[in-house]
Symmetry: D2
Subunit: 334 residues, 4 copies
């Protein structure tokens, strides 16, 4: 049983605490948070100790840490934790600054410690089945990938301001998904976007609705659609046109009930909340991390991949403001 | 081009007139109806002549007749038309009296003239595809057949009174479908039913909601559900459980539009009217009849099969009133 | 936190152990089983003690027991546990003998201790949503209920022999579902069945494929279809035709992936195993039991309802052998 | 009954001949084609006369013409027919040259004769229902429109060379659809594309797979995906995200049959051929044209709208080659 620590006891930290304690393959022995009370509350609840980050990193009994702190601390904590010899699972994104993320990548790789980035959607059973079928060649060569990713409702405008913008905060999941499905980052990215949902988001310098096109060197295309407000639920769909057919993964619905009356046939909406949709994915993500740590197998999502997704977000942000497509150059990938 | 006559210019006659004139393989040269004005109106519209039945049967240029008159005239017209050497396509049911239908069968078979009964649903492209997949062995041996057949709204109570009852008037389609799919009539039939839709239907001695179970000699089972009033449309579904899987044909919907809001996902209802759903089936039925007449191939739905469906209806009626299951004996099949 | 004991550490006992330990509202302090080693193994794993049934029933600290032992012990254990003042959740069926079940009902009701029967499907989120919509009047008055319930594969023939037959062992779930949805037991039941899946099942005196029709006093109808072998998965569907429309709950599929090629559009099968489909239902069932015990609210599934389902199974068994429909009389319901 | 002439007896002319003769509201009295034999064959078959274009335009009995000739003759024929006082229904696109199309627009508008462009998809019952629901405000204000439009197989490379390219030949339908749904042409267009299906298409200077993004002045976005080869059928879908929900129209399938086995659940593919999918649309298009001609109502698809779609195609072509987004300026719209 692996002894592990959880850094961060906020919203996403609590999510991870749930999957970390659902397995017997690891034991959470320590929790850290800038808010010591939050750390203590969570630690008490799961039979761990509230400790400082320094303490945790110095404890050689602790083999791995999960970083679920605020984004601006990710790079520093990855660097320190790998320097201390820990295996690391860090929440997305690696950083809001591509430059800093590249420095973190260099530092972490120098230590040889394994780092995984928490792109939880790869572990969603539906998307995982789509990927498996695609890699199995069931629709031949991929040609045109479409990702629809709409949130049910926008976050508070305060959050928007420090989020790094739609591309680094929200679409980064879809960039990773596209790179994962198509085997690496694209050659160029073009972005269009607008603030249609809430003018306050536009006033904060961000967009809430966007379409991004990715082109690979061999001509393959991907298009990602994001909206901060679908209203009816969490809309998460993927579709790949290949030389031999179409593969898609549609939404998970609230239930299977249908009512047919003179007003039409009414079925359930997509699940509304990301936790309902992705709780299983968080569990499988943690299990995959533990397996990789204990067997020494490559991380299922590498830090390098986390940087590639950030490079896409960087390119999309530049394209949105400049109006033209932006190349993903080798120096952006580390 | 086959010269043909249409006997009956009422509602169902008009339906047939449409498919009979949609093909160039036949030409409707004569129309008869007890209502001479109706015959003349229709004849004028399709470039035919209004003539008496006697006249039509005596005209050796006319090779085939389609009988779409009221049910109580079917037996007589089949008998006279085959005696006159015509090929016959007669609307369902053959008769309301099994005894009379058996006599008609004997008389018609003695003439050697081909007779087809108009079980149009066999020609619905969805049910035809289901049958083809089943006969192809795609789900192995059939074990349990389910037919759902709900009308959108009950007919006038006047009609009910002379209809022969739910089993002879409405479920007879489903009896034919079951016999067709499972390769012949069942050994026993059990019926339950009630008047839940309209008390006037019950007062007229009929049921408007019924469940009938059919058992074949080898143990295979079928269950048919009928309702005179689904409200939301014309609900026509078939499902077969086989040793290797499940085959089903679901409803044809009004369109493919879906709306998802916080109130759920709303799709279109099934098509509401039997003509919307089955117009194509009527066309294919007529084409199949013409092909059989001109090539001498066996009729796609024989008079004998029409009698078998009526025997099922007879057994179901008796079971409903007697409470026990009723055997389909050889003398009921002719 | 309620202290509870689990009687039975076999297959279904392990299922319940999982949901019993997933909540903090109860604590399993004792496990009993005729196989002491099985009891010890499970007890060790969940931090409980392996004890005898006598011991458990005598321990006044234990407020409730879950009976997951073999069916032939249910009546005796319900009687003894209620006599000892425990709240009881007992697996279905109450008994294979209606007579014994009625005696148990009388004895248990005399103690005033609450008894719940484990009809887990009522707690499936899909069926629960269907029931809620129906009770809410969304399709008006119920008229015709259809339940499809197919297992993926038959149990060992050994099991069949002591199972009480298809109706008491498998369709009892559907009888309860029908009585629950339509607000009480039907007036009459008619059964047809055959051994189509495995001749050994027929040789053991049982059927593996069956259609049962239920008729309520007011004419409402239900039809239940069972097969021991659907092959493609666990097929669990419900459909209600009401005066104002149709309500249905369809299967839960393995995932939402679809592949479209020239060979057609391929989607996932229904979940294959009852635990995949109903694990959540077992959890909600246990939670509902705990809530009722602690609040004193009526049991969500009463022992009386468990007896009613058994009375339906008894009537279906008699109908299958006798050929006619069988009435559910008041003396069968206790 | 309107006397009309059909100009063009090639593939698409034959399609129109079918819908033009299916109604009694018009009578095709003349057919013209550069291939006189083709004109005669078709004319004979539908009871019309083969005549020259000059002759037809000079015949004052003929009130309307349908232009189904090769694209390079559209502008000239629209100009001459309106000059001759005829109402015109012309196949898409107006022209391959935006400049020529603008001149034609000016000339035709000067005559006051009504001209309709044959964007048949607007008349597809599914897309028409989507449009009606959207205009009815059922999902609030439109924000993000997605159009998927894949052909089953690419046309001959010969055809590609003279087609004007993917955007003018194929995506022009989708440009019209987007402008129709969002109430006018967008402000800017960005195109990405590649030749992934057939290198010969790339060698001919065209792309066979493309993603185009359209942005309206108020920030609304649309994305159109085209592929010349979906393989599995004719894939035609539309989806609109609005402030209040999502509206979509999915594909029309070959039939409603589903087969579930251990290999999964197999349903029918989308209809394969554009005529199967859109025959009804061609009929409704012709009927809508006749209604507008006889009532004097505005044309359901104006020549001006045909020019706007061409302007979008022009912008997309320029964007594809230049790499940046291209504005739709007023001078491009006439």
């Amino acid at each position: 049983m692996l002894k592990v620590a959880l850094l961060g006891a906020g919203r996403i930290g609590l999510v991870h605490a749930k999957s970390m304690t659902a397995t017997t393959a690891s034991r959470v022995v320590a929790v850290a948070d800038v808010n010591m009370q939050a750390a203590r509350d969570l630690a008490d609840r799961i039979g761990a100790q509230a400790r400082s980050v320094e303490d945790i990193l110095a404890d050689t009994d602790i083999e791995a840490v999960l970083i679920a702190t605020s984004t601006d601390t990710h790079s520093d904590l990855i660097t320190r934790a790998t320097a201390a010899g820990k295996a690391v699972l860090c929440e997305k994104p690696v950083d809001l600054s591509l430059e800093r993320a590249l420095a973190t990548l260099a530092a972490a790789e120098a230590t040889g410690c394994p780092v995984m980035i928490g792109f939880n959607r790869r572990f969603d059973p539906n998307f995982a089945a789509l990927k498996a079928a695609f890699d199995d060649g069931q629709i031949g060569a991929g040609e045109l990938l479409s990702i629809t990713s709409f949130d049910p409702a926008p976050p508070p405008v305060d959050y928007i301001a420090s989020s790094g913008g739609l591309f680094r905060d929200m679409m980064i999941h879809d960039f990773d998904m596209a790179c994962w499905l198509f085997g690496g980052p694209p050659a160029r990215i073009t972005a269009q976007g607008a603030s249609l949902v809430d003018p306050a988001i536009g006033a904060a310098g961000d967009v809430d609705t966007a379409v991004v096109t990715m082109v690979w060197d061999d001509g393959r295309l991907a298009v990602v659609k994001n909206s901060r407000r679908a209203g009816y639920g969490y809309d998460q769909r993927i579709e790949i046109l290949g030389s031999g057919g179409l593969l898609s993964a549609s939404n998970v619905l609230e239930n299977t009930v249908q009512k047919i009356t003179t007003a039409g046939a009414v079925s359930a909406k997509p699940l509304h909340f990301f936790l309902e949709r992705y709780m299983r994915a968080y569990e499988d993500e943690w299990a995959a991390f533990l397996t990789a740590v204990t067997t020494g197998a490559p991380m299922p999502v590498t830090l390098r991949e986390g940087v590639a997704a950030l490079a896409c977000a960087e390119a999309a942000t530049r394209s949105l403001h400049g109006g033209a497509s932006v190349a993903i150059t080798p120096d952006m990938l580390g």
